[in-house]
Symmetry: none
Subunit: 199 residues, 4 copies
DNA sequence: ACGTAAGCGAGACGGTACGTCGCGTCTTACC
DNA sequence: GGTAAGACGCGACGTACCGTCTCGCTTACGT
């Protein structure tokens, strides 16, 4: 083929795109747990065996899909000066990407979703949230009988995760920037008071 | 599918017990997602068709199992005077019950677990945590541009949930009372600063 | 189950019978090579997965089918006095059993059939034909430069096999006894003159 | 699928040759039934799609291969005076050609071979053998209750076929001329005694 | 204590999805 | 124009679970 790497066969791109779209649609419709490969391929109007030429199974499709998403999202992150009490750009970008496929995320993080996806998403969130954290508290001072720092991290991560879930389930009642600011505030306040810092 | 009509047939009780135990064991071993009815019945040394005499499927078994658990747990809750900055007894009891089947909960709430279970567990947790909340802040005062109260609830609920997950994943490094107190403190601090209350 | 061995579950016998009949019919219709498991199960009105509970594949079904056939055929062979120039009862019985499923054998031994089946059938035929041979020539006398005895056997076996194929392809134009007698005569004559015996 | 239009493209001849050789080798190794187009092309180091440019499928390749073989074999047959009890030259030539690809024929005529090939080969053999027959018995005299002449033909054809199979399976323990003479003798003797001819 | 109704073991069965394999067709680029 | 590379639709394969069912044996319960 001697093609330039990265510029794939048009048919391949077309097929993968059809499969991903069908995947999103059907997941929203019937949930990830109940989703079958046949569901996807029938919606995509692609032969079932063709699916297996591109993905190992629905989990692999999910994986590749979110990797592509995050790749895009990270490309555009850019570098910016950050202010202590202002949401990190990474977090805002994450929220914006989620918003584009809001109903997909809502389902995937809900009762018909996938716990592994939720876990990975939480980890992703954790990175963004901890980056806020680090911006805000470059030097950490701990009290002697404070709770373990990892507990605090988990506490904050899940809290942020919960806020995103709330945002998705309420059909994004506020812009990403607003949510990011609230989140930032929450984190700041929680940590300050937990660590008894002089903010 | 037998209803609890007073005293059941010995064989029935025996079978259900065997199935539940096998269910717990196998879930811990291979995760709830991958768990099959055959896994359970083989471990329980019970015929597969007998399983369906008692449960609709593995989800039904899970459901009945946790219902029985919570029934027990709630019986013993008791009523107590509560102090503002002290953990609620309900929360402590919940943690104690979780601790008894810690590895089961760890798996069920993790990547190999069940999102529906996690959701229901979160709801259960929410009740206990909101009761702390209500004890602490009987009268709510909101600032004009504060985040929605439901966001705050979700934030706190997920944070508490995350703390419990941390506790389980770390193999319960501290007693339930300690965790409950930390949690209580977190909630108190977060809410106070979020709502800009004067303690 | 504690059932008497050999007396199998009625359903099992029914299913196997349906599958075998469908197998015969479809083989005659479209040949063994082109035959699929789905062909068989659709005709038998049995679920495809049920097929695999009884047979490994179509080859296994064939195998079991002919084993059952031969079992029956051998049960009834009986013992008889045999005359040198008269067909063996074993051979006649074989032909009678073939005749019952003549079109099946015609297909299986033809261009759309299975070479392995043909081989096994040839071996079966060999036994019967060699038993004729042994009846006729209890003491063998060989000339010094005669062809190898195994060549003679193969020669005779294939000749008998060819006669049966002819019989099947001509739609059995004569009764089994007649064919068996001709075969016997052929064999006798061939061997006598090949070995230069004083028959 | 290229026709033999005089001198073909070198690449075409090269590709066909590679495919035929690979076909022979792989057939001997794993049998014709189990042979796939991919087996052939991988061995031939030719792209799979190229295979379909030349042949419809493995059956077509087989067909073309044997046609080319027989074309060659018949070119060199020549015409000779024949003696009643001496093997026909056609038969000897056939055996010589078989001998060149003995293991291929051994497989193709065995349990892992192709019944259609066997049938066609039998027909080819029949021609050669009947030519012996006709040389030996130019005038046929039949007894009143003799078996049908077609039965006799089939009998003889298959017998000859069986002899060739024996020869192949024993790894050709004697030269073609020897086998041809034995065969000739068998046929002569069988027919004489069957028809009760006076020599 | 004992007869009987239930629970239970054994396992056939119809379904549905899985992931794999081989087929034959097609398009595009290279040589 | 022949070939390589390989995507694609198609359809059979054999496996794994599912949930339903029937049929006898056995066992705990109620009189």
């Amino acid at each position: 083929m001697q093609k330039l790497e990265g510029i794939e066969d048009l048919r391949v791109r077309r097929t993968r795109k059809l499969l991903q779209q069908a995947f999103i649609e059907r997941t929203v419709e019937k949930g990830f747990v109940a989703l079958t490969v046949r569901d996807i391929t029938e919606r995509a109007m692609v032969n079932r065996s063709t699916f297996y030429r591109h993905y190992l199974d629905k989990y692999d499709l999910l994986e590749q899909y979110i990797n592509e998403m995050y790749e895009l999202s990270e490309d555009q992150e850019g570098i910016l000066e950050l202010h202590p009490r202002e949401a990190s750009l990474g977090l805002i970008n994450l929220l914006k990407y989620i918003q584009q496929e809001a109903s997909f995320y809502r389902v995937m993080l809900g009762a018909q979703g996938d716990p592994l996806f939720a876990q990975r998403f939480r980890q992703k969130t954790e990175e963004r949230i901890l980056s806020c954290f680090n911006q805000i508290f470059p030097e950490r001072v701990f009290e002697p009988d404070a709770p373990p720092i990892n507990l605090l991290f988990n506490f904050i991560t899940y809290a942020g995760f919960g806020a995103i879930v709330w945002w998705l389930e309420q059909e994004q009642p506020c812009p990403p920037e607003q949510l990011a600011n609230w989140l930032n505030q929450f984190i700041y306040d929680s940590v300050v008071s937990s660590l008894k810092l002089n903010g």
